[in-house]
């Protein structure tokens, strides 16, 4: 048999039909649904008199525009249009008989955090969601990617997706990370190197010692941002850490089924002589704590660098850099560490897991945020929140001056009331620094949770190593 990549193996195990031109019907094992990209899909089903083909493989949770403040279960505390979307999801979940975690359920949270937490996401699966950060689930060695609303409807109706195979890219991070460097710095550094379109047409497999050393939480952070690098999906081969994480989760297999699953999961790795269409290699030791300076996730620099000038770039990027710098209100040559910030946001599907909260709390222990700073922590799920309270992290955040919120997407995309004001500058642990992403005119710098916590303390972009 010819050697295969991990992606090839998962793909081959899910082709339900292949047409002569290579267009495939890919069978979908898990379909995650949230309130923003699904109403039109359910509406389409109703109009055509169709049902959900596999309701037991379909899981819904509201996350994008639910408020993260107390009293949110009362629709009166939501804006009218948010309440309509959440109510539509409630109704659709009920009418079509799919699994559902409403805001009143402690298991509610960001869809990409809830899936793995509940054991819905398992190695070797195909996972889709009407959300680009579905790539997160690739950390389990599952083929996971975002789809549009028409495709959501297609999966609901047929449990398949029309797909052509992508190319294989290997991103290898060798060696070990230096102190203060995290999964977020890896994933941002990869995008800084390949650019936001570098992965277009590819599925990335992340490998190498520095990736193997990451916890499952860290691996999810890395895969989460595969999409910012333009890739269809990011994958990491499952190993003992993966099995350990999955074992005992509510929807993970048990007993003999667990053993059978393990037998298959252990075959899920790229063969030594598999073919790669592209290979990127980065030394773990070369990665520094990084921040973004512009309005594209590829605008990445080590925290010790200075704001670049448009002339540092060529082609269309020079104009884009000029526009970014104007928007961000940054002068070329300014040391990044001199950039003062107004707000800190810790959360999102990139960095809203327990390990992220631990890393931030570690920096904040016994410290206060800078006077006048607005800072919030939004745990990725109700269970992450409960665990953080149990571990005493919530107290550290509160004592430091952070707001301690309920689970949701919150200021990652500011569809709920958590938004930046025009010109307000934010240190954020989320994944997108686009113009207006966190509120019209808002300025976003992406970084790791520890770096965001450090910025909260000093009131400026800060090298976390100074506070360690």
């Amino acid at each position: 048999m010819s050697p295969k990549t991990l992606y090839d193996k998962i793909w081959d195990a899910h082709v339900a039909h292949e047409a002569d031109d290579g267009t495939c019907l890919l069978y979908i094992d898990r379909h995650l649904v949230h309130e923003v990209t699904s109403p039109q899909a359910f509406e389409g089903l109703r109009m055509a008199g169709r049902s959900v083909r596999a309701p037991d493989k379909t899981i819904a949770v509201p996350d994008h525009n639910v408020p993260t403040t107390a009293g949110r279960e009362d629709p009166a505390n939501m804006t009218g249009d948010s309440a309509i979307q959440v109510a539509a999801l409630d109704k659709n979940a009920r009418d079509f008989g799919i699994h559902y975690y409403p805001v009143t359920d402690v298991r509610q949270g960001i869809v990409h955090i809830v899936g793995p937490e509940q054991g819905w996401t398992l190695p070797g699966m195909t996972v889709v969601c009407g959300d680009s950060h579905t790539a997160t689930h690739g950390a389990f060695g599952s083929l996971a990617h975002g789809i549009g609303t028409s495709e959501v409807e297609h999966v609901l109706a047929t449990q398949t997706l029309i797909q052509k195979k992508s190319k294989n890219m290997k991103v290898e991070i060798t060696g070990t990370l230096r102190p203060g460097v995290t999964a977020k710095d890896i994933t941002l550094s990869v995008i800084g190197k390949t650019g936001t379109a570098g992965g277009t047409g590819y599925v990335i497999e992340y490998c190498g010692e520095a990736i193997r050393d990451l916890s499952m939480e860290g691996r999810m952070t890395v895969c989460n941002m595969a999409i910012e690098g333009g890739a269809r999906a990011g994958l990491i081969a499952p190993d003992e850490k993966t099995y350990e994480y999955c074992k005992g989760r509510p929807h993970a297999p048990k007993g003999a089924q667990w053993e059978a699953a393990m037998d298959w999961w252990k075959t899920l790795y790229s063969d030594d002589d598999a073919h790669w269409d592209m290979v990127v290699m980065i030394k773990g030791e070369d990665i520094a704590p990084v921040v973004t300076w512009g309005t594209s996730p590829e605008d990445v620099l080590p925290i010790t660098a200075n704001v670049p000038a448009p002339e540092d770039f060529s082609g269309g990027k020079a104009d884009a850099a000029k526009r970014s710098l104007d928007y961000m209100g940054l002068a070329p040559g300014t040391p990044l560490e001199d950039v003062a910030i107004d707000t800190v946001f810790i959360g999102s599907c990139t960095n809203g897991r327990i390990e992220d909260l631990r890393a931030a709390a570690e920096i904040l222990r016994g410290k206060k945020i800078k006077d006048g700073m607005r800072a919030m922590v939004v745990p990725g799920s109700g269970l992450v929140r409960a665990q953080a309270e149990e571990e005493g992290l919530a107290d550290i955040f509160r004592d430091a001056g952070f707001e301690w919120r309920l689970a949701g997407c919150s200021m990652c995309l500011a569809m709920n009331p958590d938004q930046l004001e025009p010109g307000e500058r934010c240190a954020a642990t989320s994944n997108r620094n686009f113009e207006g992403r966190q509120g019209r005119g808002g300025r976003t710098h992406l970084m790791s949770p520890a770096m965001a916590a450090a910025a909260a303390v000093t009131g400026r972009l800060t090298d976390v190593r100074e506070l360690m």
């Binding site: 195990a13 339900a16 039909h17 047409a19 031109d21 019907l25 069978y27 094992d29 923003v36 990209t37 109403p39 039109q40 083909r53 493989k57 525009n65 249009d81 948010s82 309509i84 979307q85 539509a88 398992l122 070797g124 699966m125 009407g130 959300d131 680009s132 975002g146 549009g148 609303t149 028409s150 495709e151 409807e153 297609h154 109706a157 047929t158 398949t160 029309i162 052509k164 936001t196 379109a197 277009t200 333009g230 993970a252 089924q257 059978a260 699953a261 269309g316 990027k317 104009d319 884009a320 526009r323 995309l413 569809m415 025009p422 997108r432 686009f434 113009e435 207006g436 992403r437 019209r440």
Partner: protein
Amino acid sequence: MDKFTTLTGVAAPMPLINVDTDMIIPKQFLKTIKRSGLGKNLFDEMRFDDDGAEIPDFVLNKPQYRSAEILVAGDNFGCGSSREHAPWAIKDFGIRCVIAPSFADIFFNNCFKNGILPIALPQETVDILMKDAEKGSNARMTIDLEAQTITTSEGEAITFEVDPFKKHCLLEGLDDIGLTMEKSTNIDSFESSAAQSRPWV
């Protein structure tokens, strides 16, 4: 789905790279549960100021481009979120074809599902079309999907590539779900064999 066969119309030049879906349709307009009506908010934050007044410099506000049906843009168009509201807004505005050196994957697929033709061409070719588009409303381009050609206002014909299956669906206005349901026996048999080999799923 609406068919796409040929289109002759005004092309608006937008020489920006990395136009993301947050720019195309900002999130405050994602709270709809309908597919229609988003065209008035296409590129909202670039098109209107804080008071809702038009920003005259923005290309789609210029008199010659207000009824553009084609958009010529820079590299990596449609990057960012998977929101299908982006193609819905583009279509609702009246644009049926976007030409750029490259597109983000999900956006590219979403276009086809909504009767919009995205065309990826080498940078040099896009530069030629960008120049043509900059001539304003008298410069109308013609796109012929069957023949896979773009004809500039000067009469220059440029050929483009398109996936044969996607082309077929656009030309015929075919609905993917209907097509897939014709293969339901394949799906049934896949499901029963998967139930044997991977029963835990």
